[in-house]
């Protein structure tokens, strides 16, 4: 099909044809077209089906407020539903499909809903699907969801990348129409840092859509010249295709830049969209205004559109929606449309001006039939407008044949962003619309049509004035910019919200199928508050957020209640201003990049060994090191754990938090944060410690090593490294600022390996430099010291054991960590040294009965953990008093105990609840298993857990209930120290 509705002129690159498809049919357009303008040029008026009744719908607007022309853009994984054809920039090869119809757009079987419109009124769902209650989820809702809805998802992963970023400016100008351009020029020429953002791909706003002059130059050329100047200013950032979505606290704005939506697919590495956070010291809203519909019978016929949109299509895109057009207006504005289309050779069959005063001399701008004091009472043509019926001032009716009708019910300033910080717009009788209220987001001003100033001259001047005021507020220089000469016509409106005549439906909200009758029904049924009206009728709840419909609905409600529109009020405006893809909100934080990953010093070596890794917080740790022939992880873990018990193993424990504590009061400080005593810990010694929260619950455990009188190194669990550091800083800065103590994390600075097993000392002795005696006598259990290894490299050695074996932890500067691991493997070969991962580490510590994060779960006290005696009564420490509060440590409370599977082999699932074997089905849980493992050393399944009165129940058999997996097992209560309860091994 050729472009039968293409006119002369326009702002298109006609030298280059673009081919695109809509519902599989091929069309052509030009660069500069939107999908909507190109479809109209090709004579396509039917672009979609409505949400509820599946009514045929055509394009209504020429901007982001579009409620009707929603399409599925692109195909495959890039298919995006609910894309507004009015802002979809045409590119070669564009593919769009209509949505919410079956089998085709022209014949939609679900259009049958329209036949039951008398039933499907406002509140239909609420009234109808009440009974039987159980039917809702399984029966009603699936059917309704199938019948309703808009576009569909491809169900494939989004292949595109999205970015985010942060911008700062003195002045953010939102909207690049006449006010925005004048403001940006003013601020830019004065040297301020300016961001000018506009959602369009061509800056200029309405200047690109009107036939008027600025300083004697066609308006769109003046805009282009202004943009060209702004592009030369290094302090001005122009952001095309960028929608400012929301105004947030303290001058912060969200803006979505569509980087690659105007091409078939982003180039490699190119983000499709970028979500910017803009910090603006001042902002200026120049978002223009949105035209509104007058509701009349069948005013949703494809071909009925806003008069301003009809004019924009003609002037900017050289398109008419039909060869015969009419205009229905209650302002002078509609006459501009008639004038411009007539000038382009389109047959204007009439202007129906509801104002009786509109005469050929007072209102008409050209030689076209004018029906003053008349109204459109009906529209004909199911799939496309064929004509309108009008009621003339003398009471007679007449049908005007036309394929398009431009409607101008007045303009609504785009106040949305002024309300995002709880501002409320105020009613302005003069323009019959809401304008921004006095309470604006911090630093915001409003200019141009957004402020209710509708002439171009007013827009330009207000932009200049507001920019100067903003700069003055920032104490920046402001030189006055002469205001260009421009159109300064008055805005004469006689409000008309809907045409009373006719029993057919008069549409207010096109996207959610809300009619005048629905609003009246809501009133009749008591839903009179605007918030109730919105929820009951769904007025303004669709993807367009009612940009073209809300005020009409409010006006109808005001009439029904006998209140003014101002008294009726508005619903809240909330971000985002237009829909945002979820991918844009995620940015690059998707998939494995959702969070950063921390690698251990031995990571690359472990990869070489074929280690299997596991996430531990942000860390990636070696979980186990499978060897050839091992077919199950248990084989590997059993081997690793036994190797430690038998000879020696090495495990990377760098992930444990390390906090350097220095200062004159370092010992006193630790004495305060740990429940047990640290003041008298000798230099060269480590001590196991328990930290309590203020409420007496155990927070973390670890060791502190005293390297000097005024120098300790505290270790924390991996999981609590951050929280413990934060806690200690809080104590230092807020609770004991008088103490001389300094903290800093050294977690990453040192590669630290546990060397555990009967041969641990022999292995280390091969690395430790002569002069450092690490014999049992010279370096006993819980010793620590700074040494050198491997020929002079500084290292720290701690004789601490998590496994219960003779064990050390050795630390070197991290850059040497990889080499140290390799050296340990080489030198340990004679002892059959074995690297072990977190799984074996867990097995070993469960065998030894050491608590870790599973046990320190924020609900357990030192007493519960069997460490009650560690809470010193001889000193004050954080949490000590509340740890002794009534009830917390009652004898009948839980205690950490060991558990052995009664049959030895069956796995005891961690998380299972514990019951006495005599308990009935209704019996209360008496505890839970917190950690479980198969102990290769003991040859049985074991677990740690908390059991009420556990200390008195040694030997008792309890029921281990795992209802999630339908298990009920038996276990025997034993000591949590499964191996070497006397600690002989670790002191060997």
């Amino acid at each position: 099909m050729s472009q039968i509705n293409r006119l002369s002129g326009g702002q298109l690159d006609r030298s280059r044809p673009l081919t695109f498809t809509f519902d599989g049919r091929s069309y052509t357009g030009h660069p500069g077209d939107t999908l909507a303008s190109a479809l109209l040029a090709n004579g396509v008026r039917l672009m979609g089906r409505s949400f509820k009744y599946h009514r045929p719908r055509g394009v209504v607007s020429a901007g982001s407020e579009e409620p009707n022309a929603l399409v599925e853009l692109r195909t495959g994984a890039r298919q995006e539903p609910n894309t507004r054809a009015t802002v979809a920039e045409l590119y070669d090869g564009l593919s769009a499909q209509s949505q919410n119809r079956w089998p085709s757009l022209a014949f939609d079987a679900l259009g049958v809903n329209d036949l039951f419109s008398n039933v499907l009124t406002a509140g239909f769902y609420y009234k109808t699907f009440m009974w039987p209650r159980a039917f809702w989820e399984k029966f009603y809702e699936p059917i309704i969801r199938r019948a309703a809805g808009l576009g569909s998802l491809s169900m494939e992963a989004d292949p595109d990348a999205y970015d985010k970023g942060f911008l700062h400016c003195d002045l953010l100008v939102i909207g690049a129409g006449p006010a925005g351009l004048a403001a940006a020029l003013t601020a830019g020429r004065n040297g301020a840092q300016v961001i000018l953002a506009d959602e369009d791909f061509t800056l200029g706003g309405r200047l690109n859509a009107e036939v008027e002059e600025i300083d004697g130059t066609p308006a769109h050329l003046w805009a282009a010249t202004a943009v060209a100047e702004l592009q030369t200013l290094p302090n001005v950032r122009l952001m095309h295709r960028t929608t400012v979505l929301g105004a947030f606290d303290h001058g912060t704005y969200a803006a979505l830049e569509r980087n690659a939506d105007h091409v078939a697919a982003p180039a490699p590495d190119m983000p499709r969209q970028t979500l910017w956070r803009i910090y603006a010291r001042q902002s200026l809203l120049c978002a223009g205004a949105t035209e509104r519909m007058i509701a009349f019978q069948n005013n949703d016929r494809p071909g009925v559109m806003m008069a301003g949109a009809m004019r924009a299509y003609a002037n900017r895109w050289a398109v008419t929606a039909g060869q015969q057009v009419a205009v229905f207006t209650n302002t002078d504005n509609g006459h501009r449309t008639a004038r411009d289309l007539a000038a382009l050779g389109v047959d204007v069959v009439g202007v129906i001006d509801s104002r009786p005063s509109a005469t050929a001399t007072s209102a008409a701008l050209g030689d076209y039939p004018l029906f003053a004091g008349a109204q459109v009472v009906d529209a004909k043509g199911k799939l496309g407008l064929t004509g309108v019926t009008i009621r003339r001032a003398d009471g007679s009716t007449r049908t005007l044949p036309c394929q398009a009708l431009g409607v101008s019910g007045g303009w609504n300033p785009n106040v949305s962003l002024t309300c995002h910080q709880r501002g409320r717009p105020v009613w302005n009788d003069q323009i019959a619309s809401f304008v921004p209220g006095a309470q604006l987001p911090q630093g915001m001003r409003v200019a141009g049509a957004a402020a209710g100033l509708f002439s171009t001259a007013e827009a330009l001047q207000s932009g200049i004035d507001a920019a100067r005021a903003a700069l003055e507020a920032l104490d920046l220089k402001t030189t006055a910019l002469p205001c260009p000469r421009a159109e300064d016509g008055a805005y004469d409106i006689a409000p008309l919200w809907y045409v009373a005549e006719g029993k057919g439906r008069k549409w207010l909200d096109f996207q959610n199928d809300v009619t005048v009758k629905d609003v009246k029904l809501a009133h009749q049924e008591g839903f009179r508050s605007v918030e109730h009206l919105k929820r009951y009728t769904t007025l303004g709840m669709a993807t367009d957020q009612g940009k073209t419909s809300n005020l009409g609905g409010l006006a109808v409600m005001a009439e029904a209640t006998g209140q003014s529109i101002a008294e009726t009020g508005t619903t809240m405006f909330r971000p985002p201003y237009t829909p945002v893809a979820m991918g844009a909100l995620a940015g690059r934080a998707a998939g494995k990049d959702f969070k950063p990953t921390r690698l251990t010093p031995s990571h690359h070596w472990a990869e070489e060994q074929g280690a299997v890794f596991v996430e531990a917080g942000l860390w990636l740790r070696a979980q186990y090191f499978p060897r050839q022939g091992e077919t199950h992880w248990r084989q590997t873990v059993d081997r690793e754990a036994l190797a430690v018990r038998r000879s020696v193993g090495v495990c990377d424990v760098t992930t444990l938090g390390k906090i350097d504590v220095q200062g004159k009061d370092a010992a006193a400080f630790l004495n305060l944060v740990y429940a047990n005593g640290f003041a008298k810990l000798p230099v060269g010694k480590c001590r196991y410690g328990v930290m309590l929260r203020e409420d007496g619950i155990a927070m973390d455990d670890g060791t502190a090593a005293r390297l000097a009188e005024d120098h300790f190194v505290v270790t924390t669990t991996t999981a609590n490294a951050g929280p413990v550091y934060r806690h200690m800083e809080f104590v230092r800065q807020c609770l004991v600022p008088e103490m001389d103590v300094q903290l800093i994390s050294t977690t990453d600075a040192w590669a630290q390996y546990a060397v555990a097993g009967p041969n641990a000392r022999k292995l280390l002795q091969k690395l430790v430099d002569p002069g450092h005696d690490i014999s049992n006598e010279a370096f006993p259990f819980m010793g620590c010291g700074e040494i050198t290894i491997c020929g002079g490299l500084r290292a720290r050695l701690f004789r601490i054991s998590f496994s219960g074996e003779l064990a050390y932890e050795i630390a070197v500067p991290t850059r040497y960590g990889d080499a140290l691991m390799r050296e340990l493997m080489t030198e340990g070969a004679e002892f059959d040294v074995t690297p072990y991962g977190t799984e074996a580490l867990g097995v070993l510590r469960i065998e030894k009965g050491h608590a870790t994060a599973n046990e320190l779960n924020g609900q357990t006290s030192a007493d519960h953990l069997g460490m009650g005696r560690m809470v010193s009564t001889k000193k004050d420490s954080i949490g000590a008093v509340l740890s002794r509060r009534d009830g917390l440590n009652a004898p009948e409370g839980v205690r950490l105990m060991g558990f052995e599977a009664l049959d030895g082999e069956t796995t005891l699932p961690a998380g299972s609840h514990l019951f006495a074997t005599t308990a009935t089905a209704q019996g209360a849980s008496e505890g839970w298993l917190s950690s479980a493992a198969y102990s290769p050393h003991l040859g049985k399944s074991i677990a740690l857990g908390f059991l009420e009165r556990g200390q008195d129940r040694l030997g008792e058999v309890v029921t281990v209930a795992n209802p999630l997996q339908g298990q009920s097992l038996k276990a025997r209560v034993v000591s949590p120290h499964f191996i070497d309860p006397e600690g002989e091994r670790l002191r060997a």
Binding site: A267, R598, D740
Partner: protein, 199 residues
Amino acid sequence: MPDQSPAPRLIARTAFGADHPCVETIGPWTLTECPNRAIASVAARQGHEDAVAATLATLASGPVDLGTLRRGPSVDVFGTALQQWFVTADHTEQEHLARTLADDLGMTASVTEQNDGWVVFTLQGDGVIRVLERLVMTDLRALSNGSAQRLLLEHMNVFLLCREQDQAYDILVARSFALSLHHAVTAAMRSVAALSTMS
């Protein structure tokens, strides 16, 4: 004589497990890992704040306030928090920087070795703010030469040091995050480079 460990049997590796620093050039920008930096943190002890600041000012050839970076003849110093600084130097020459500083400052300050606590990257090239503005929320045009800020970069805690505005910056990140930081920065570099090709 360089102040370094005597020919250890253990070979130092970069944060990427490599023998050589990671260098990535995309478009006009280059991200370079700089493993040859010794780093020490210095925190003044109570009552010695002025003395420590004076000592560091001598090393840095001028006072080093919070949020500033100053380059001395043999060390760089930047303020990291109230009465806290990082001192950096050539690792080959001053591997034991922390020990030296501790000896010099005595009981007036707490000094901690951070040589391998942090990885230093340099990001440089014309118009590099276009890359950084996708990564950090600070006002980069207000971050003048010699500024130092502690920031979040893709959830990672970093120091950003402005060597030359819009041309050269140092980014310090905890060593274990090196790969993720590299990924985040190079992704932004690729992003902006790709966008530059868009007409």
